[in-house]
Symmetry: C2
Subunit: 324 residues, 2 copies
């Protein structure tokens, strides 16, 4: 569950305090990627995300098929960030009267294609009239083990999967009028934004091998995501700027690739902390997944960015504002 920036870190804290830990059978309540309940002998992982036209996507930039896929993918990513497997989805969909039938058809085709790919079953929903397209997906997953955001300790190593900044760069190029099908590198950036791939298998492996002490998905940009992991774990961090993996296409097509990587959001990779004793597990996983150590957790509460010059600056959470 992404908790976007209004000025509402305070609001979330208030809600959390107000509504507490969740009651009977609730293993994990507000404040993580997803909630966990244990109605029987099994953990169920629950998450919900709103995608609102104008705030999270533009119909002019986002083809409906890819939008349907992404609506499911961003929720799957929250389940992946807990180390769980997605199972069931509920869809709330608000549509403006007069939305072309073809648009709706392609949206559902995309949703169905992602559902098939990740083994998710749509079990219910609510269709509604709305001035802008509103998509609300709730996902239910399962996980024998699950990984919170709060288990990071000083000395644990901080890893990310994949290349950060790809999605933001893709969006920026689209906004500038770049077209797909002309440059393979640019196409990879477009895909990262339009049709991101949630890291379910990686999340499952990290949970199964008990390799990650804390984990979340990279949805709000590294600076925000790292800040969230550190706050929940009660630690600080040192991030090595030169360790941040930059893809060849990001380097080639963007002026400030490092800024994209540090502050761009919506990558839906995984950011996780690893106790040094679990490093051999990561080594094994690096044969299948692109995993990069970008820093380590520290005893303080502050997050520092270490520049190639050796200079240390505070790495403050901030994100790009996309549409509003």
């Amino acid at each position: 569950m992404r908790l976007l920036r209004l000025a509402e870190q305070d609001l979330i804290a208030a809600i959390r305090q107000d509504f507490g830990k969740g009651g009977r059978g609730a293993v994990l309540g507000i404040g993580d990627d997803a909630a966990v309940i244990r109605p029987g002998k099994q953990n169920l992982i629950l998450t919900t995300d709103l995608l609102i036209e104008g705030s999270h996507f533009l119909r002019s930039l986002h083809p409906p098929f890819e939008l349907g896929r992404k609506a499911l993918a961003v929720n799957i990513s929250d389940i992946a960030a807990m180390g769980g497997r997605p199972l069931y989805a509920l869809l709330g969909l608000g549509l403006p009267p007069g939305t072309p039938g073809g648009w709706v058809e392609r949206f559902f085709a995309g949703l169905k294609s992602a559902a098939g790919e990740y083994g998710v079953h749509l079990i219910g929903g609510d269709l509604s009239r709305s001035r802008k397209v509103v998509i609300s997906v709730t996902l239910i997953g399962e996980g024998k083990a699950f990984v919170r955001r709060s288990g990071g300790r000083p000395g644990h190593l901080l890893f990310i999967s994949g290349f950060p900044g790809q999605s933001h760069a893709g969006l920026e190029l689209l906004k500038k009028g770049f077209k797909s099908g002309k440059d393979r590198g640019a196409d990879r950036l477009f895909k990262a934004f339009l049709d991101p791939v949630p890291q379910v298998e990686l999340g499952l492996e990290l949970a199964r091998r008990k390799a990650a002490s804390a984990m979340l998905d990279t949805s709000d940009g590294l600076s925000v995501d790292i800040g969230n992991l550190c706050r929940e774990s009660g630690v600080g961090a040192e991030i090595l700027a030169e360790n941040i993996p930059i893809s060849p296409e990001l380097k080639r097509l963007r002026k400030s690739p490092l800024l994209d990587a540090l502050y761009g959001g919506e990558d839906y990779g995984l950011l996780f902390a690893v106790p040094p004793t679990r490093l051999p597990e990561i080594k094994k996983l690096q044969k299948r997944f692109k995993l990069t150590q970008i820093g380590r957790l520290t005893a303080g509460r502050k997050v520092y960015l270490i520049h190639p010059s050796g200079q240390r600056t505070l790495f403050l959470p901030r994100g790009f504002r996309h549409f509003q």
Copy 2:
């Protein structure tokens, strides 16, 4: 889960066919008030509803405290309509930048008050920027037994709880500028619209006693709700107009109280079919709940309204359009 009328009965049918019955562990998929999964030894009942400013409520008419209560209540009503008990809620909330802090506070206070009243725990959510207020609630409940929409058979008797049309009448009076606190009857109508009471205890009793063969909540107006129950059960119905219970305040304050009762929506009472052999159970429940027999299910597929004159007319599903 309400499925509002765009022109989308077709769309829902297509989604249902496309996404099928829900896969491993899914007991009941798309098409009922809620979905049911059985991850362990227990049924979990899941439902989601969107409330969108301008489509489902107006901020000028709906105080935030009552809106917070209603956002939860309409979902609780879907769980009640399955004969289940609500347990956990997830909230997706889209807020326009600049929404007054006091509004947000009152909204959450209302949500919390309803959560406390019905034993629901808020376990997670997603806050987001939006042009209009968007509220998406997903509710998870449990139920040993549960009641589908599809179990009605010819000869079963059709009952409703409470007084239909109250909510619609309350909205109409509010739109005309009537103020609360001046007339007790009008206040009851306002409350029915602003702060409806889901029928959890009644639903649980009907399920526990196996007294209802089919059930749903009256959210779209009787004509639509009866049509839905009949379609899912593959039956028709005869409804006796003179049996429709009309409250004293509806009779006194509205010009066409029967039309309010037949076509007004958002009452969140229960509509259910009862096999004649189970009538003694209903008699017992009538000591605690206002339950009225309004007709019976028939072998045809058509729904007829029997007027006091004895005239039979087709009772076609239609609803009032509220805001858009």
